[in-house]
C-alpha cells in the first residue's frame, strides 16, 4: 500500500532493519487495520478520549445552553416548544403559530473535513506518527467532545473515491463509527491528478453543514489547487464557524535536509534535486507564503486558521481549536 511503502522509504536503514523486517510489524499491523502509520499516537479510541477529556473540561459550551441573542428566523410551532418563544404578532396578524428562533438554538453540528490524500500518509524520521494519524486523533477528539455535549457530528474525507464520508449523527454509536472509519482510513488520491477531490468533499459538506454548524478542516494544505483557500473560506458564510488546521510533519516545517538531496512529492509527481543547505531559506519562505495565503483568505471570510506539526501536543491543539470556535 502507498502509505506503507512511504513509511518504509522514509525510515532509515537501521530502522528498517529493526522494524521493517519484523513479521509482526508487517503483517500484524495490516491485520489490526494499520492503514495509518500511527506511530506513537495510537490507539485512537483511548487517545481521542484522553485528548478530549483533557481539552473540554471548563472550556466546552453546550450548543443548547442559554438564550440566543441573534435572530435566526421562524418556524411552525410544534408541541413541546417553549411558549415564551411563540411569536404573538404573527398569531394576531396571520392566525398562525410561529416560533421565533435564535442562533444559539439552531443546529450546532460539528462537521469535520479530513484531508485523506496521499500526502497525509507522510511521516518524517523525527515525527511521532503520520500526518493522517495526527489528524485522525484530533478529529476523533473533537467528535467526542461534540457527541458528549449532544451535538451531531459528520466526517467528510477529501481523498480518493474509496473513502466514504460519515453522515451527520449524534450519540455514542456515532463516535464508534467515526473511530472505526478513521482507523481504517487509507489515504490515497492525488490532488493534482484529481482537481475535483476538494470540490466533492465541499459539496458533500454543504449538504450537512447548515447554518450555525462548526466546520473544522484538517489537512496539510500543501497540494490543493491555488483557489482552494477561497473555496474552503466560503464555508465560513451562512452563519457557519470555520476553523482550518494545517497539519504538517516536522520535516515539512523545518526542512532538515543537508547536502544534495533528491526529493519526490507524493502528489503531482514532482521530483526536485537540490542543494538543501542553499535552498532551505527559499523553501521556508515558500511555505510561509502558502500559509499566509490561507490565513488571509480565511480571515477575510471570518474563518480561523491554526497550524501544527505532528509532534505538537494533541491536547493543546484540541484546546486551541475549541477556544477558536467558541
Amino acid at each position: 500500500m502507498l502509505n506503507w511503502a512511504v513509511s518504509r522509504r522514509t525510515w532509515s536503514f537501521r530502522e528498517r532493519r529493526a522494524r521493517g523486517t519484523s513479521p509482526a510489524f508487517v503483517m500484524g499491523a495490516r491485520e489490526i487495520r494499520q492503514a495509518i502509520d500511527w506511530g506513537e499516537l495510537g490507539p485512537l479510541r483511548f487517545r481521542a478520549r484522553q485528548v478530549a477529556e483533557g481539552a473540554y473540561a471548563g472550556l466546552h459550551r453546550s450548543a443548547l445552553r442559554g438564550a440566543g441573542v441573534e435572530f435566526g428566523g421562524y418556524r411552525e410551532y410544534v408541541a413541546g416548544d417553549d411558549l415564551r418563544r411563540l411569536d404573538r404578532r404573527s398569531l394576531l396578524r396571520h392566525q398562525r403559530l410561529l416560533v421565533r428562533q435564535f442562533e444559539t438554538e439552531t443546529d450546532r453540528a460539528l462537521c469535520l473535513v479530513v484531508d485523506a490524500s496521499s500526502s497525509m500518509a507522510f511521516r518524517g524520521p523525527a515525527a511521532k506518527g503520520s500526518k493522517i494519524a495526527f489528524a485522525a486523533i484530533v478529529a476523533a477528539a473533537l467528535a467526542r467532545i461534540a457527541i458528549v455535549n449532544g451535538d451531531p457530528v459528520s466526517v467528510t474525507f477529501a481523498g480518493d473515491e474509496r473513502v466514504q464520508s460519515i453522515a451527520r449523527s449524534s450519540g455514542r454509536e456515532q463516535f464508534e463509527r467515526i473511530v472505526a472509519a478513521l482507523e481504517t482510513l487509507e489515504p490515497g488520491g492525488d490532488a493534482f491528478a484529481d482537481p475535483g477531490m476538494l470540490d466533492r468533499a465541499l459539496l458533500s459538506l454543504a449538504r450537512v453543514a447548515r447554518r450555525g454548524a462548526i466546520v473544522v478542516v484538517l489537512g496539510d494544505l500543501l497540494d490543493w489547487a491555488s483557489g482552494a483557500a477561497e473555496k474552503v473560506a466560503s464555508l465560513a458564510s451562512g452563519g457557519r464557524v470555520l476553523a482550518v488546521v494545517q497539519t504538517l510533519d516536522p520535516a515539512e516545517a523545518d526542512f532538515p535536509f543537508s547536502g544534495t538531496v533528491r526529493l519526490r512529492a507524493l502528489e503531482g509527481g514532482h521530483v526536485v534535486e537540490t542543494d538543501a543547505d542553499a535552498t532551505r531559506a527559499a523553501y521556508l519562505d515558500a511555505l510561509g507564503e502558502l500559509t499566509r495565503g490561507w490565513r488571509e483568505s480565511l480571515a477575510r471570510r471570518g474563518g480561523r486558521f491554526l497550524s501544527a506539526t505532528t509532534n505538537d501536543s494533541l491536547t493543546g491543539l484540541v484546546r486551541s481549536i475549541v477556544q477558536t470556535i467558541r
Binding site: 522514509t10 500526502s119 547536502g259 533528491r262 512529492a265 526536485v272 534535486e273 537540490t274
Partner: protein, 650 residues
C-alpha cells in the same frame, strides 16, 4: 628502455585509481519522499558544480602524482638528452646558429616537425650559453636572412629563437653558411663555431659536401633530422575552361602512384578527380564535372612527409603576353619579303611571346592592355592621344623600344615624342663607322664587336638635354648614344638612334641586334608582373609609389632598397598585390627542389674540431621529477586542508 623502466612506467596505469575511488565515493543523491517538494527550488547544477570542482582539483592532483611517481620510479633509467656547448678552454665563444626554416623542415619526425626540433635545439644551445658568449641566428630559407645579429644579450637570443616560425621557402645552406662566416669574421672571441640545425635537404644531395671555413668548425647538431623521406608536391595548377592542368613533382625516384588529384571549389566540394601521374615529375589534367565550375584548389590525396605542399591554388590561365610592333611594312620589309625585319628578329628569338603588328601607335588605352612591350620603329612622331596612351603604358610598368630614324626626325609640327624626348631629333650624316666597344654594357657587351663597323651613313642625334636623360648602353665612337635607356614611371624607355630598316643601316643584320632585342625583351618580361613565382623569391616593384601585399597569413612587410619596393614571399599560396591602387593576384608556388628530402653530405670538420666544439649530453631528470612530485604532494595537502576548513565552516 629497459625492462625495469617499462615496469616502472607501467605503474602509471594506476592513474585511474583516484578516478575510480572518486566514482565509488561519489554516490548519487538519495531520493527521499517529501510531499511539499514543489515548494523546493531546484538547484542541482550549482550543487554538482561545487562538488565537481572540489573533486576535480584533488583528482587531477592525485592523478598527476601517480604519473610522476611512476616516472620517478623509472629514473635513472629515463633520461633526456639536449644540446649544450662544450668549452675546452673555458673562454667565451662566438656562435652562429644556422636554422633551416625551409619547407622541408615542415616534415614530421618524432612527433613534431623538424623545425620544432631545430627550435628546441637552438633554445638548448642558447640556454647553455653564458655571459660573454655572442650568439647570432641565421635563417637558411631563401633568401638567407639574419634573424639576429651577433649579440651577447642572451635574452634577445632566446626571444629570437622563440620567434622562429615555419615557412615554405627553399633552402640555401651555402648562402647561410657564408653569411654565418661573415658574422663570425668580426667576432672578438677566439672560439668560434657554426651550428647548423637543418635536415640538409637543399635539393642538391649530389653537390659538394658542406663544410666550415678555415678554423671555424661546422657542427651539424641534429643529424637525426637528415633523413630521406617520400614527398610529392603540387607545383602549379591552372584552369583552362573545363579542365585544370596540374603540374606536380616528387623526390628523385619517388612517385605519387596510387594517389589522386582532387579539384575542389571554395566550399570544399569535389569538382573532379584523376589519378596522380607516376614518376618524379609529371603533368596531368583534371576534367571538371561542370564546365562553368570555378576551381579553387587542387589536393593530392594520401599522406607524405609534408602536408602543406599537397594543396595548390588554382588560377585561371593567364592570357599570354604579346609584343606590339609598330613598323612601316614598306620601309622595313626585306628583299626576301615577309614581315618587317624587327618582327622576324623577334620571332627568331624563340621566346614564348607573341608579336602583334600594329599599323600605328594606338590612341586608346585598351589597345595596349596586356602588352609586354611596344616596339616603335621610326615613327613619324606621336599625336597627343598617342603620347598620352604611351605615357600611361610606360608609367604603369610597360617597356618601349623606340628606334629613331628619318621619319622621326621629320615629324610634323605637333607630332613630338614627349614625354620620352623633350626636343626634336635630327637625322644627320655621320662619318662614325661604329660603336666604341668599351661603352657597350649589359647584355650587349658580348656582341659589342659586331657593332664596331656599322654600315650607316646617317644617324639620329639627340639633343644634349635629352641625351643627358638616358643611360647609354652603347655609344658611337664620338660618344653619341646608339642605344640608351631611361626609367619613366614604373616602366622603361629604350631608344636606338638608328632605324631597323636595312635601307638606313645594317644594324638589323648584326648579332648585336638580336642581343639588343633579347635584352630588351627580358626587361619587358621582368616588368610584366609574373603571376607565379617560386616561394621565397622577392618581388620588386620599381617605380611603384604604394605597394600592399596580402599573403595567405596576412599582410607582408614591404622593404625598400634604393627606392624600390620589394617583398619576399614566405608561404605558398595566393597573394593579393596592390600596386598604386591596382590589385592583382600572384601565386607563390613550391620550389621543386624542396621535395627532394635527401640530405646533403657534410665534410668532416678540421682536425681537433671535436675537442673545441660541442657534444651531446645526457641529463638525468630524476631530481626534476622528484621536485615536481614534491610540489604535487604539497598542492594536495593544501587542497585537503582547504576542503576541510570549508566543511568545518559549513
Amino acid at each position: 628502455m629497459t625492462f625495469l623502466s617499462a615496469l616502472a612506467l607501467s605503474m602509471a596505469v594506476l592513474v585511474v585509481a583516484p578516478y575510480l575511488a572518486h566514482r565509488l565515493r561519489r554516490k548519487n543523491a538519495e531520493e527521499q519522499i517529501f510531499p511539499p517538494a514543489r515548494l523546493v527550488v531546484p538547484a542541482p547544477p550549482e550543487a554538482r558544480r561545487r562538488s565537481r570542482l572540489e573533486d576535480r582539483a584533488l583528482l587531477v592532483t592525485r592523478g598527476a602524482a601517480v604519473v610522476v611517481l611512476a616516472v620517478l620510479g623509472a629514473t635513472p633509467f629515463v633520461r633526456c638528452s639536449q644540446l649544450s656547448l662544450h668549452r675546452a678552454a673555458g673562454a667565451s665563444i662566438a656562435m652562429v646558429i644556422v636554422v633551416d626554416d625551409s619547407m622541408s623542415m615542415r616534415a614530421v619526425s618524432g612527433g613534431g616537425t623538424r623545425l620544432e626540433r631545430a627550435r628546441r635545439g637552438a633554445l638548448e644551445l642558447v640556454s647553455s650559453a653564458r655571459e660573454g658568449d655572442s650568439i647570432a641566428v641565421v635563417l637558411a630559407g631563401t633568401p638567407v636572412r639574419v634573424e639576429l645579429a651577433s649579440t651577447t644579450d642572451l635574452g634577445a637570443a632566446r626571444q629570437a629563437t622563440l620567434a622562429l616560425t615555419p615557412s615554405d621557402r627553399g633552402t640555401d645552406l651555402e648562402g647561410a653558411l657564408t653569411r654565418a662566416h661573415e658574422l663570425l669574421a668580426s667576432a672578438p672571441q677566439a672560439d668560434r663555431r657554426i651550428v647548423l640545425l637543418s635536415d640538409l635537404a637543399d635539393g642538391r644531395a649530389d653537390g659538394e659536401p658542406l663544410s666550415g671555413a678555415g678554423d671555424t668548425p661546422l657542427w651539424v647538431a641534429l643529424p637525426e633530422l637528415a633523413a630521406s623521406r617520400v614527398d610529392c608536391a603540387l607545383v602549379r595548377a591552372d584552369q583552362r575552361g573545363s579542365r585544370v592542368h596540374v603540374e606536380m613533382a616528387c623526390g628523385p625516384g619517388q612517385s605519387a602512384a596510387g594517389r589522386e588529384l582532387v579539384v575542389e571549389d571554395a566550399q570544399g566540394s569535389s569538382l573532379g578527380r584523376t589519378p596522380a601521374p607516376g614518376g618524379d615529375k609529371g603533368e596531368t589534367s583534371v576534367f571538371l564535372q561542370r564546365g562553368d565550375a570555378k576551381a579553387d584548389r587542387v589536393r593530392l590525396t594520401g599522406a607524405d612527409a609534408i602536408v602543406e605542399d599537397d594543396v595548390a591554388p588554382v588560377l585561371p590561365e593567364a592570357a599570354r603576353g604579346t609584343l606590339a610592333v609598330v613598323a612601316d611594312a614598306t620601309d622595313e620589309a626585306v628583299a626576301t619579303g615577309g614581315a618587317p625585319i624587327v618582327e622576324q628578329a623577334l620571332g627568331a628569338l624563340k621566346l614564348d611571346v607573341d608579336v602583334a603588328p600594329l599599323p600605328a601607335v594606338p590612341d586608346t588605352v585598351d589597345e595596349l592592355a596586356n602588352r609586354l612591350g611596344v616596339v616603335l620603329d621610326d615613327p613619324p612622331g606621336l599625336t597627343p592621344e598617342q603620347r598620352h596612351v604611351l605615357a600611361g603604358f610606360v608609367g604603369s610598368g610597360g617597356v618601349v623600344l623606340l628606334a629613331l630614324g628619318p621619319h622621326a626626325a621629320a615629324a610634323p609640327l605637333g607630332a613630338t615624342f614627349e614625354p620620352i624626348l623633350t626636343q626634336a631629333v635630327s637625322w644627320d650624316d655621320t662619318t662614325q663607322r661604329g660603336v666604341q666597344a668599351s661603352t657597350v654594357v649589359g647584355g650587349l657587351a658580348e656582341s659589342a664587336e659586331s657593332l664596331s663597323d656599322l654600315g650607316a651613313t646617317r644617324r639620329t642625334l639627340l639633343s644634349p638635354a635629352d641625351a643627358a636623360l638616358f643611360q647609354p648602353l652603347a655609344s658611337w665612337t664620338d660618344g653619341a648614344p646608339l642605344v640608351a635607356r631611361r626609367n619613366m614611371g614604373r616602366g622603361e624607355i629604350w631608344i636606338v638612334c638608328l632605324p631597323f630598316s636595312l635601307d638606313a643601316s645594317d644594324l638589323a643584320l648584326r648579332p648585336a641586334f638580336l642581343a639588343l632585342l633579347h635584352e630588351w625583351l627580358q626587361v619587358a618580361l621582368d616588368h610584366a608582373a609574373p603571376l607565379r613565382g617560386v616561394v621565397g623569391a622577392s618581388w620588386s616593384f620599381p617605380g611603384a609609389r604604394s605597394v600592399r601585399v596580402e599573403g595567405p597569413a596576412g599582410p607582408l612587410e614591404i622593404a625598400r632598397e634604393t627606392g624600390v619596393a620589394r617583398v619576399s614571399t614566405p608561404w605558398l599560396g595566393v597573394y593579393r598585390v596592390t600596386v598604386d591602387e591596382r590589385t592583382e593576384p600572384r601565386v607563390a608556388q613550391v620550389d621543386p627542389r624542396e621535395v627532394d628530402l635527401r640530405p646533403r653530405r657534410v665534410a668532416p670538420g678540421p682536425a681537433g674540431a671535436d675537442s673545441i666544439g660541442q657534444r651531446r649530453e645526457l641529463v638525468d631528470v630524476s631530481g626534476y621529477v622528484a621536485l615536481v612530485l614534491l610540489v604535487l604532494l604539497t598542492i594536495e595537502m593544501a587542497l585537503r586542508l582547504s576542503s576541510r576548513r570549508t566543511l568545518v565552516g559549513a
